[in-house]
């Protein structure tokens, strides 16, 4: 691996960024040197994304910093995309590649965007692509359709493209900086080695790499140094060689090194609110995509949190359960019936009195142009259908009542729902489903993009639904709220149940430990497997 040499290539000094009155980043400094791979880790909400967005130019307000690049120093906020001209390129989680196009077309995508050539010499471009693949030791066919490549190879294409971007952007001889913003999250662990090799090759050219990841093992493996953020502050900045896995977990979770973080073994049996298992929801052997063999039980009146780190597959539990996506296997028992989850669909779920609040509100939960009445009253239209027609006046009155009950502002049934704030839209979505008094409530990140006030209200609504006897699964990446609202928490790590935490043992730290430790366990296992192979 290359040594960090001759001072930093890019450095951020004293970055402070406020959201309203509270600082999301507080005096954060971080740098990446020539040929250095710099890890950036931290829990959700620690400020990682905010930092990356400041660099990318998406946060212009309430921002103070000094940004130093070779021959350049800035104290103002950046405009979106401005930094690419200074030789910084991003690869995001979604990679930004198009599956229908060829590898070569994907590579040239960003060039085409600002290209004034009249003619594209495809032969020449192909040769150039082959050349660069060879240089980085990649075995990729420029003519292949991107979607036929393995996910890791697709990520490699995205990285090579970013490198090309750096080369075309950088002035003089300064190498650029490549930012990988959780770009490995959805890659299977097995193929990631090829990705690490590529990153090392990029760094060997002298470029700096900022590597944002949740995966402690890979950070330790690929990074030369690591910056740890917690609550918007830098709690550690150290070479990887001086850090152990336990150190990092401890730093991420508690902000201090050397706090003994142990797996929790004490499990208390909790007496469910309703003593009989009548009306319980029991999921068994749920597998598909990242998930494998997950079991979850929810009793009436109970809120069970399901969480984990990004990429562990926690959100799949509710998506499979309601049939939004098809599981590969698994069954669920409810109301004396056993249902094959491979055959589940949203309409079947609804027939079982199971409702689902999706995480992607704009795409999956509301039709922004339609009125609140048309969005919210949809599941109960039948109640206002009488003598052959919908009683619109009654429907409007009922809608107004529901909106007021669920504190949707403004409680104006004719208002297009898209004009409401995120929080009020979400309250309206909850109203839509909870007014049906469902037996089973599945929530997927119900407070995403919702302001603090509305959050509190949403928690109250969820608790009220549970108090009325609903069995609630609360899936969220926000550990604080999961810890606050759940009677029990199921922590998913690498697609499996890592831990079940109950009652008084529930805390953010306990969840964080389970989420990160689950990863170490499987890392240990694979290490053990490797050892066995060597023997």
């Amino acid at each position: 691996m290359t040594e960090a040499a001759s001072g930093p290539l890019l450095s951020i000094r004293n970055l402070t960024k406020y959201f309203g009155a509270s600082p999301a980043l507080d005096d954060v400094s971080m740098s990446v040197g020539y040929g250095e791979i710099r890890g950036l880790v931290g829990q959700n909400g620690s400020g990682k994304s905010t930092l990356i967005k400041c660099l990318a130019g998406y946060h212009a307000q309430d921002l103070e910093w000094r940004l130093e690049l070779p021959g350049k120093e800035l104290t103002r906020a950046l405009r979106p995309g401005e930094i690419t001209a200074f030789g910084v390129a991003f690869v995001h989680q979604d990679l930004g590649v198009l599956g229908d196009l060829s590898v070569l077309e994907n590579l040239l995508l960003t060039e085409f965007a600002n290209d004034h050539r009249r003619y594209i010499g495809w032969g020449k471009e192909r040769a150039r692509a082959k050349e660069i693949f060879k240089q980085f030791g990649l075995d990729l066919d420029p003519a292949a359709k991107l979607s036929t490549l393995r996910p890791v190879e697709q990520a490699q294409v995205a990285i090579v493209r970013a490198v090309l971007q750096l080369r075309s952007a950088k002035q003089a001889d300064h190498p650029g900086v490549l930012v990988l913003d959780e770009a490995t999250t959805f890659l299977d662990r097995a193929g990631r080695e090829g990705m690490y090799d590529l990153l090392r090759a990029v760094a060997a050219e002298g470029s700096g790499v900022i590597f944002v990841s949740h995966d402690i093992n890979e950070v330790l493996k690929v990074c030369d140094a690591v910056t740890v953020l917690r609550d918007g502050r830098v709690v550690a900045d150290a070479p990887s060689s001086e850090l152990t896995h336990d150190d990092l977990v401890s730093l991420i979770v508690t902000g201090k090194r050397g706090v003994e973080v142990v797996s929790r073994t004490a499990r208390r049996e909790k007496v469910p609110v309703a003593s009989s298992s009548q009306g319980s929801l029991e999921v068994e052997g749920l597998s598909g995509d990242l998930l494998s063999d997950v079991a979850v039980t929810v009793h009436p009146g109970e809120i069970v949190g399901v969480t984990g780190i990004v990429g562990s597959g926690w959100e799949l539990v509710v998506e499979f359960l309601c049939g939004a996506r098809r599981a590969e296997s698994g069954s669920c028992r409810l109301g004396g019936k056993s249902i094959d989850l491979r055959e589940m669909s949203p309409d079947k779920a609804l027939a079982l009195s199971m409702v689902y609040v999706p995480s992607d509100r704009q795409r999956e939960a509301v039709v922004p142009d339609l009125s609140l009445r048309e969005n919210v009253m949809q599941p109960v239209l039948g109640n206002s259908f009488e003598k052959g027609r919908l009683r619109l006046r009654r429907l409007t009155a009922a809608c107004k009542e529901v909106l007021e009950q669920y504190a949707v502002v403004p409680a104006e049934p004719s208002m297009p729902i898209g004009l409401l704030s995120g929080g009020n839209q979400q309250k309206a979505v909850l109203a839509k489903w909870l007014q049906t008094d469902p037996l089973y409530v599945l929530l997927n990140e119900p407070t995403q993009g919702v302001d603090i006030g509305a959050r509190q209200r949403i928690y109250e609504l969820v608790r009220a639904a549970a108090a009325r006897g609903a069995a609630v699964i609360y899936a969220s990446a926000d550990w604080e709220e999961v810890a606050a609202i759940s009677d029990r928490v199921v922590v998913i790590s690498e697609g499996k149940v890592a831990e079940r935490i109950e009652g008084a043992s529930i805390s953010v730290d306990a969840i964080a430990q389970a989420a990160y430790l689950g990863m170490r366990r499987s890392a240990d296992l694979s290490k053990a497997a490797a050892l066995l192979e060597d023997l």
Binding site: F19, A24, Q43, N44, G45, S46, G47, K48, S49, T50, K53, C322, A324, P346, D347, A349, L350, A351, Y356, D360, R361, Q362, R363, E364, A365, V366, V367, P368, D369, L370, S371, E374, Q378, P379, L381, G382, F385, G388, R389, L390, L392, V409, P410, S414, M415, P416, G418, L419, L420, S421, G422, G423, E445, Q448, G449, D451, I452, G453, A477, D478
Partner: protein, 367 residues
């Protein structure tokens, strides 16, 4: 009616703009041709003669509301008319029985459209374009490419000859059809489901709606109603022309899109479509009375379609801005890491949504 703008001056103009322009057009033609245009007989012809186009537009409106184009409806109209003619004239079948066959064939074509588009997940724009051409081919084939005349007078009587209040009964058929469609979309849960399916397929699916079935049924309904329009069409003249429908497709689209800018602005609606049909017809007939050449018809229909789509886009956008500015502002807490893949502010979200009438249909075509 739902989705109505506030009762302001501006709202009124927005909602009844097409009607106002229509009235202006009538006045202008009346002044230009005072002897021929503003006469009872001209208005009677105007109102009654547009039943086939009007019913065809209503047929088109159903899949459009569900988010799917159906470019084959006009061909179904032609085929349906030809089936009635051939069965009745060449095979001596009872004309009503022939009409029933024709309507069932129309529904079957709709079903086929639905199965290919929805079942196999192919873009309806292409599928129905191809299907329409196939249907045209079949029509030419069964008719030997020649018009068939001599259809039973009982059908003709029931379409144009009988009059109520001076108007041919076909006008009332059209009004009944419009009322049925209006009732379906306005007063039944089924109509509301179609609307949601058209606006947000994923929302509809996750809300437990059987999206595929709804879309297929919308195609079937389009075929059925399109074939009905064909029966009325042959009833107006007693003969079937194997190329009749081709000139009706564009006016029907123009009427439905223009209709979506009025009465219930922002959504395809039956009465708006009726207003648009008559507005377009008035324009054409007035121009004919002025003695302009027939190519002007094409300019008129085509121009109306483009302007209609443009207008519906503009009104919707301005309406949104206006409504948004009236909202109480609420503090937004920008999400951090955990919510970084979230859905952004409502303003952005609305802006990024495609326009509901023309645009959304285009946008969802590929699913």
């Amino acid at each position: 009616m739902s989705g109505a703008p506030r009762r302001t001056h501006e709202g009124f103009v927005r909602r009844y703009g097409v009607i106002i322009v229509w009235v202006v057009v009538i006045i202008v033609f009346s002044l230009l041709r005072p002897k021929t245009f503003p006469t009872a007989s001209n208005f009677e012809t105007l109102l009654a003669s547009q039943a086939p186009l009007g019913i065809l537009s209503l047929a088109l409106l159903i899949p459009l509301s569900a988010g799917d184009y159906d470019l084959s409806v006009a061909s179904v109209l032609t085929l349906s008319g030809m089936i009635v003619a051939i069965l009745n004239v060449n095979h001596g079948m009872n004309v009503w029985l022939a009409a029933l066959v024709a309507v069932l064939v129309g529904a079957a074509i709709g079903l086929l459209n639905g199965i290919i588009c929805v079942g196999a997940g192919i873009d309806p724009f292409i599928v129905t374009l191809g299907m329409g051409t196939v249907v045209n081919g079949v029509t030419l084939w069964i008719s030997n490419s020649t018009p068939v005349s001599g259809i039973s007078q009982s059908l003709v009587n029931m379409v144009v000859v009988h009059r109520i209040g001076g108007l041919s009964v076909e006008f009332f058929y059209l009004m009944i059809a419009a009322a049925v469609i209006w009732y379906l979309f306005e007063f039944t849960p089924a109509g509301r489901r179609i609307l949601v399916v058209g606006r947000g397929r994923e929302v509809a699916r996750l809300s437990g709606m059987r999206v595929k079935r709804i879309r297929i049924l919308a195609f079937v309904a389009a075929g059925f109603v399109g074939a009905l329009a064909g029966v009325v069409y042959v009833g107006t003249s007693g003969s079937a022309d194997p190329t009749a429908g081709t000139t009706l497709l564009l006016p029907a689209f123009a009427a439905v899109f223009l209709g979506s800018t009025t009465i219930s602005p922002g959504r395809f609606n039956a009465w708006g479509t009726m207003v648009a049909v008559y507005f377009l017809t008035t324009g054409i007939s007035g121009l004919a009375l002025l003695g302009v050449q027939t190519f002007v018809q094409q300019l008129f229909y085509g121009g109306a379609l483009v302007i209609a789509v443009l207008l519906s886009g503009i009104t919707r956008r301005s309406k949104r801005h206006k409504d948004a500015s009236q909202l109480p502002t609420e503090p937004q807490q920008p999400g951090d890491a955990g919510t970084s893949n979230g859905s952004g502010t409502p303003g952005q979200a609305v802006a990024s949504q495609s326009p509901p009438s023309g645009g959304s249909v285009l946008g969802t075509g590929g699913e």
